[in-house]
Amino acid sequence: MPDLAATGSDIRLVRWLARPGEEVKRGQPLLEVETDKAVSTVESSIAGMLTEISISPGALVSAGQVIALFEVAAAMPAPSLELGQPNAPSPLPSAGALQDVALSAAVPAPPAPILDRSFLLSLFEHMVLIRQFEERVKFLFLEGVMPGTIHQCQGQEATAVGVCAALQEGDWITSTFRGHGHALAKGLTPQELLDELFGARTGCCRGKGGSMHVGNPDKGMLPAIAIVAGGIPLAAGMALAFRMQKTSQVVACFFGDGAVAEGAFHEGINLAALWKLPAIFVCENNLYGASTHISKVMRNTRIADRAASYGFRGETVDGNDVLAVYDAARRAAADGRAGRGPVLLELLTYRRTGHSRRDPCHYQPKEERETWLSRDPIQRFAARLQERGDVSAADLEAVNTRVQARIEEAVAKARLAPQPALSDLETDVLA
């Protein structure tokens, strides 16, 4: 029985809308209930055959109670995403019925939370923050004032924000050389990141990490690991620690499609699966490892399929739909906390920029690029927000303006941030 957020009132079953033996789809109306507010329909969070009904009309029910049993196929093939209709409108989520893009849930999903206006706007603001941060950093490089190299994530904002929004206080992430978005989504400030990118002593790694190693343990983010797949076994170990320490923490481990060919990916996910560790393996599949298309490096390009061969759940999700990502990550986190083991989330997305600083991205075919650019995660989410009725274009513009001011302020400070003292050179090697 999902949580209807019925403010403590009794919930009474009015009638069942499906019968035992019936094949029920996810989202199909399953029962009618009455609260002190209204009579409402509860949609099925499970797809499968309804085998047994355990409460009768007139009975009181409570959230979390078992009210029916389903027979669920162990691994339903995930439907492929329709890339040809990039802007197909999706219904906005409401309590108890968050839209799923692609699922192969073997266990009941936890009740979906109510996605209120402020939460949705915060998702939007984080995505805008990442986009504007990356764009601003790009221009700082063009100006020639920023040292080193950068790997940017414009176009992939929904993966970072959707996943991190599903995490709780105390949860951790690991990241990669393309980690600015993950850091901002996990709560690092633009200031501590920009300072780090400038090599300043006030940066999140005190100027010793740089763009490829941003992190802040106080905010649940290890220094990002710039060796492809290097964070995957590490995340399994973090999850093992949570298990041994008997906490309910989870770790979300970000990596790209390129990591899937590495031995560390296979060894790491096998160990996590074997020991049912609370880890979410988040593959941001942006179709390219550096300049090489995914089709040139793997026969089976559906990365989520790898999970099944290691005995755990994998799911392919529209990674440019922040709510779809959020929902998938939320369910994966719930699996981890409940001891059901890891989940491999394959988030389909696209990199709008080159692999790194000087890459003009000429290997992305024009048609592919245009298709994906039209599925921009921020534009899509902005459109969906405005369909709600309580979010206006002006509200979204206010977010843009606020973020811009915040970043400009941070840039101004970062330009003047103090460089490390030479006496810092040999510190922090050993504890």
Binding site: C205, L234, A236, L240, E267, N270, L271, D428
Partner: protein, 336 residues
């Protein structure tokens, strides 16, 4: 006080540290299988009975489980990860060198990796891939500490110090010094037993030890070569040459204080290393001694090491490969 071999002393150290600190656990291949071996050389034999859930047997996946150990260490656990043969450390090299050793620096000192790594090394009749002396590949990695005990007392004390240290510490153990018994006994083993006190003790991770005092020449060695060097010093004494023998023991950092005191006293240095001469720990020692104490040297530093070849299988060739007592005696006698 009791007499123990290295394998038993390490087992006792692990058990005591796990008893003392619930964050300590062991992870590796075949380390806690009931009725199994207790790792390749019996070090963890039977510990799974005392510490259920804390002797974690892994698939054969060194890269994976070393990453797991490092991730757990970053989250506050204190893992002891071992490989069956040091050669397999190369499979885990990315995790050890790129993650364990650098995470603290990259974070600006905000995280720590309290990890212990145990690795058996040495040429022992197993051909080229279960035989290498791997120290050289790790001593030059900033962020790692590397030690190599030559006797049971040090093995126990160094392991305990390593568990209590907040950094990744790599302990190289020699297969011929374990004193493993029964089916895991090694032919050609050398006695490395010690009297082990009944009370808790540690051995510092950054100190060399003078094993025999002398005045004419300093012999630097560790692990099996330390035992050969002590035998050589006996022969040299019979020839009237007084040799001082130092157990380098701490391979990173090197204890130049103890080494320097001896070099200043004798003015002559022989470095003995199992493993190819080129690019070895001995090369670093020779350079470091020359830089620091060159004025005190009465003759150029001499290295006795294995030739620059893979470890051969045939016992006749393997014995010719590894520095012998005779080669050490000859080198020291020429110098003195």
């Amino acid at each position: 006080m009791k007499r123990l071999g290295i394998a038993e002393a390490l087992r006792e150290a692990i058990a005591e540290e796990m008893e003392r600190d619930p964050r300590v656990f062991c992870i590796g291949e075949d380390i806690g299988v009931p009725g199994g071996w207790g790792g390749a050389f019996t070090v963890t034999l039977g510990l799974e009975q005392s510490f259920p859930g804390r002797m974690i047997d892994t698939p054969i996946a060194e890269l994976g489980f070393f990453g797991v150990a490092i991730g757990a260490a970053l989250m506050g656990m204190r893992p002891i990860a071992d490989v069956q043969y040091g050669d397999f450390l190369l499979l885990a090299g990315d995790q050890i060198i790129n993650n364990a050793a650098k995470m603290r620096y990259m974070s600006g000192g905000r995280v720590k990796v309290p990890l212990v790594i145990r690795a058996p090394i040495g040429a022992t009749g197993r051909g080229s891939q279960h035989a290498q002396s791997l120290e050289r590949f790790f001593t030059g990695v900033p962020g790692l500490k590397v030690v190599a005990p030559s006797n049971a007392y040090d093995a126990k004390g160094l392991l305990k110090a390593a568990v209590r240290d907040d950094n990744p510490v790599l302990i190289f153990e020699h297969k011929l010094l374990y004193g493993s018994r029964g089916a895991r006994a090694e032919s050609g083993a050398t006695d490395a037993t010690s009297d082990i006190p009944d009370t808790d003790y540690t051995v510092p991770l950054d100190r060399a030890a003078v094993r025999r005092e002398g005045s004419r020449v300093t012999i630097l060695a560790w692990l099996l070569m330390l035992h050969h060097s002590l035998a050589a010093a006996g022969s040299l004494a019979a020839q009237g040459i007084s040799a001082e023998v130092l157990d380098v023991r701490s391979l990173s950092p090197l204890d130049y204080e103890t080494i320097g005191a001896s070099v200043r006293k004798t003015g002559r240095v022989v470095i003995v290393e199992e493993g190819p001469k080129t690019g070895g720990v001995g090369a670093e020692l020779a350079a470091g001694i020359t830089e620091r104490f060159g004025q005190a040297l009465l003759a150029p530093v001499v290295r006795v090491a294995s030739p620059d070849i893979p470890v051969p299988f045939s016992p006749a060739l393997e014995n010719a490969y590894r520095p012998s007592v005779l080669r050490i005696v000859e080198a020291a006698a020429r110098l003195a």
